[in-house]
Symmetry: C2
């Protein structure tokens, strides 16, 4: 059974997949987030994993949109502690670095470090592990990458600086996707994710949240996204506590359907916990 992720080997999403599945599933890299959804839909992979929000940067909105456009179920979540490292080719010192490759979110997470080093030119890359791979493969000697410790191991790079993020509370939440329902084992606390669009009636958002408040169901997260083709109308993604199989939650969802144009349950799944990645030497 394979799990598919976007990026290169050594990406934080791969590290999250290894933690979630205890290294038992084979992780396959694809180029785009959309490819993750497609691989699970057409059965090439049993599971997909996507980042959905970061404690500093917030939600990854593109993946919220993809959850809507594809018909997969969320079957789990995991939180991964993120630590950013400045990596360069061996023999390259900090003084030689002119350009630094990474994703904009990583630069944002390490804002204070880059403010202190204004001579570095920050150059966008498609993902953190791709940045590490690039400086290795092109043997760039005046460039560095902001990437994971695992990328340093995978691409045999030197660590110029470690834990360079501003805020040590840097955690990314990932969702596990499947094209079939998976009944969770054990009695773990559950949460449910739904997406809905509102009828154009007064107080529509308030009414949609009241279906949960009236049943003492905790709201865990709300996210709004634009409706395509209808400027400044919004879709809402909501996480709430409990499973869609419990009575109060089932009633709340039925109530929500009465007052929304569209309402879809994206999945009920065990509440995840925070994992610290275990870095290790491996063949890539």
């Amino acid at each position: 059974m394979a799990i598919v992720f976007q990026g290169e080997r050594g990406a934080f999403t791969e590290l999250a997949a290894i933690e979630y599945f205890s290294g038992k599933e084979k992780a396959m890299a694809v180029a785009k987030w959309e490819d993750v959804f497609k691989a699970v839909e057409n059965g090439r992979a049993a599971y997909g994993i996507i980042p959905i929000e970061n404690s500093l940067g917030g939600s990854i909105h593109r993946n919220y949109d993809l959850l809507l456009h594809h018909d997969l179920l969320i079957t789990g979540e995991i939180y991964l502690k993120i630590s950013q490292f400045l990596l360069a080719n061996k023999g390259v010192g900090l003084g030689r670095i002119k350009r630094v490759f990474s994703i904009p979110q990583a630069f944002e997470q390490c804002k204070r470090y880059f403010d202190k080093n204004p001579a570095f030119e920050c150059v966008p890359a498609s993902n953190t592990a791709a940045a590490a791979k690039k400086i290795k493969e092109e043997n760039l000697l005046e460039a560095a990458a902001v990437s994971s410790m695992q990328a340093a191991i995978d691409y045999d790079l030197k660590i110029l600086a470690r834990d360079i993020e501003d805020d040590k509370e840097n955690i990314t939440r990932f969702l596990i996707l499947s094209n079939k329902k998976i009944s969770p084992r054990g009695t773990k606390a559950m949460k449910t994710s739904v997406v809905f669009s509102l009828k154009n009636i007064a107080g529509a958002l308030f009414k949609s949240l009241s279906v949960f408040a009236l049943r003492d169901i905790d709201l865990l997260k709300i996210e709004s996204r634009p409706v395509r083709g209808k400027p400044f109308e919004y879709l809402f993604y909501l996480d709430f506590s409990g499973s869609a199989h419990e009575e109060a939650q089932r009633n709340a969802i039925n109530h929500l359907r009465e007052i929304t144009v569209m309402c879809r349950v994206l999945g009920s799944y065990p509440v995840g916990s925070v994992a610290h990645p275990a870095y290790k030497k491996r063949r890539i």
Copy 2:
């Protein structure tokens, strides 16, 4: 009096500034969004203008964060119709293009066009006008830029393809910022923006929205952002109809203060309308 914007001449934000101020204010470009806030705070510019959301891509979260971290007031808004053009140096045909420069949001808006032209390598740039400027200044002959029609005029580039965005309902909302209160003239419909963080009590979000529903005040937008240092706690940015000077709105804000940890009014301002940019030849 100057208005400051992020980017290069020909950026959509500059076009929005020209429309909002009818071309009467001098528009000054700065490198970073943060510089816009700083220039208005220290009085170097009377106004700042920032993009805050796009009808396809959604909110620009970095600017929500900057609204919180700086003490400016929102004094207006304008909606600008966005049309994306594929630009190249004169004499360069579509067949020669290998790389296309622009911002990720522009590639996202033109997804169908790039899906149909898979040979193009999409390369990230810091903004759309900077992409146009780059291919001009470096005289790149195998590269194009996704940028505005105004950038084609400003940088004397050829239009290879026009209106290449997937969805013609492509509109960006911009906010006008000032460091002093401006009393709007006339009797235009008003809206108010607030930001708040919730107390850790059951149904906190529901209660915060009820202060508006109970007073028949329409909610126009809700946006959540992470609280730094408190993983998976959120700040909420809310737009609602009416001015903070009206009685119901003032009472709602006072009620909101009772049930929130922090609550700040970001501004009351006239509801904006959609402008179509007027392109023109000019010296840059």
